[in-house]
Amino acid sequence: MARFGMVIDTTRCVGCMDCVVACKTENDVPEGLCRDWIVEEVRGTFPDLRMEIRSERCNHCDNPPCVYCCPTGASHVEDFGKLVQIDPKLCIGCKACLAACPYDARYIHPEGYADKCTFCVHRIEKGQDPACVAVCPTHCMHFGDLDDPQSEVRRLLASRPHHALLPAAGTRPRIYFLT
């Protein structure tokens, strides 16, 4: 069974927020909330500066604390792609998962349940890319099966330096940033 992840090339990302807007329209994300966001990290002193731009979202971790803490099973790992998803009909809105996520990737939907990036599962089931990946004008985002050695994501990871977010938190995230 596949294990989906993303590889994002920060050298090409310009932080334009297309991924944020596309996600909002594709998934009807309510006003005032976002499932993905742009982070700019600047280091150095002018003019010797370096900046990394990252498009961040739920990392669909292999060791997901949000799933462990959920008392009802609303947060769970699906067989399909080993993605971490939320079933709103089981969610009681206790917000433990919001507190459990070191990436602060979740939020409470106005209707009361926890919500977050789904990797556009409704699209990937049809063989399409998630909306953020499909819209990116710099083609910096790649989606695929991390367990398939022939997949583009695996080949990128094998050939380019990369890092994931907060490795010390022990979550084993599945989104990698090429540098």
Binding site: W37, E41, Y68, T72, I92, G93, C94, A99, D104, G112
Partner: protein, 312 residues
């Protein structure tokens, strides 16, 4: 020099996590208080000294039922998807402390009711003779009473510890990332319960005994707090920064002055003096202990949400 900007601005998440307000600290406090009450009254039942500890055994169970229900109401008010609350009881998630808690709470009620029935308070006994009679029948069966006591001790302890594990299992908030949080909340709950009995017990010996017990619990609590902080500042960068919230950061004053100073140290000065009869027993120290217990939960819950892994 690092500049970090994020475009995310989600409610309850940005600029800092704030998912839990007063409801959760209140629940944790009441849960801890009830846990202490269960353990204390259970202890007297178990050791057969219930005749001696009239207040502990007669009054606490009834009060616990009320307080626990209030705590659960606070918990319910915190939920964002209230209509689905019953979903807690269609499954058991062994890795989720909250799932443990919801089932423990289900068991706590019958335990408390049994505890209540063992020695019904006088006014109830006078009012409903049948109740009194039933209670007397239970009291005759010493083994049953011991079992009820044991169950109350065990469930009380589980209740007290789990309130800490609820938080400590959330590793994303480094301030809570300590195995000592469970014992801390338990000993704080025991201390608050002991203080409560100390405050309302009419029997002088019972009062003294619980006051002494409280001094013991308060001392242990100080030690646990010390170990908790040591554990944080000798761990990772994220944990050191989290501890900083209480050691120079924004929560320093309220923690050391009110939680530790007024809520633990001051009672530890007053109560031993009272116990050694140098001053009279008053409600002052117990009230400080109880309020201190509530403040402890508030500070830990709020400061914990302010702690995070991200280096900036």
């Amino acid at each position: 020099m690092v500049e970090l900007t994020s475009t995310r601005s989600n409610p309850m998440i940005d600029p800092g996590l704030h998912v839990w307000g007063w409801e959760i600290p209140v629940y944790l406090f009441l849960g801890g208080l009830v846990a202490g009450m269960m353990a204390i009254s259970g202890y007297f039942l178990f050791t057969g000294r219930y005749k001696f500890a009239n207040c502990a055994c007669r009054v606490l169970p009834g009060i616990s039922l009320v307080l626990l229900s209030l705590g659960m109401l606070a918990l319910f008010l915190d939920l964002e998807h209230k209509l689905y609350v019953w979903r807690l009881y269609t499954t058991f998630k062994i890795l989720s402390p909250m799932s443990w808690g919801s089932w423990i709470l289900l068991l706590v009620y019958p335990a408390l009711v049994a505890n209540f029935l063992v020695s019904v308070p006088d006014f109830a006994g006078r009012r409903w003779a049948r109740l009194r009679a039933f209670s007397d029948r239970i009291l005759e069966r010493h083994l049953l009473v011991r079992w009820i006591g044991a169950v109350n001790i065990v469930l009380g302890s589980l209740l007290g510890i789990y309130t800490g594990i609820l938080l400590s299992a959330l590793g994303a908030r480094p301030l809570w990332s300590s195995a000592l949080l469970g014992p801390l909340f338990l000993v704080s709950g025991l201390s608050s319960a002991a203080a409560f009995v100390h405050m309302i017990a009419r029997d002088r010996d019972e009062r003294e005994m619980l006051a002494r017990a409280d001094n013991g619990f308060l001392t242990i609590e100080l030690v646990v707090i010390g170990l908790f902080l040591i554990g944080l500042i000798t761990a990772t960068e994220a944990h050191i920064r989290a501890a900083g919230l209480l050691l120079g950061g924004p929560y320093t004053a309220v923690f050391w002055v009110f939680v530790v100073g007024v809520g633990i140290v001051l009672p530890l000065v007053i109560q031993p003096l009272a116990v050694s009869h140098r001053i009279r027993h008053t409600a002052v120290a117990p009230i400080l202990v109880i309020v201190g217990g509530l403040l402890l939960r508030i500070v830990i819950v709020y400061a914990g949400q302010a702690s995070h892994w991200s280096p900036i």
